[in-house]
Symmetry: C2
Subunit: 85 residues, 2 copies
Amino acid sequence: MYWYLIGSIAAILTTFGFVPQIIKMHRTKSSRDVSLATLYQFSAGVVLWALYGLHLGDVIIIAANVVSFITIVAAIVLYYHYSRQ
Amino acid sequence: MYWYLIGSIAAILTTFGFVPQIIKMHRTKSSRDVSLATLYQFSAGVVLWALYGLHLGDVIIIAANVVSFITIVAAIVLYYHYSRQ
């Protein structure tokens, strides 16, 4: 239970790690200094982490990385949206 | 061996995920659009992931998150450095 909590908090923090970046891009309407390569590298990474989680049979790792992928895709969409302006 | 490879590639991609962001800040000498909250949230998250990895006894998860922490601290230092300019 204790480790489940540690893993869950870890998962919540990194899964939603790009949410403040999404909010900041939305507020400033700018993505100029944001690294697109970082976003693409993370999106590829979390897909592979999800597969590795499947192998370990660890629900926390799978769920965290699937949700993470969704937030990173949202960040990439916003990046392109604001880089056009 | 196959899963070890998947896990290792996942670890390399996300561990060094902020390296392109560090390079971009260094090139543009600007961190204005970068979210500091994202960097702090990730640094807290990877510390907890490393602890969770210790619990699982998974060397890949431990190593990935320890190195990840170091690169995020480097990104935070650069953020402050360029936000002063």
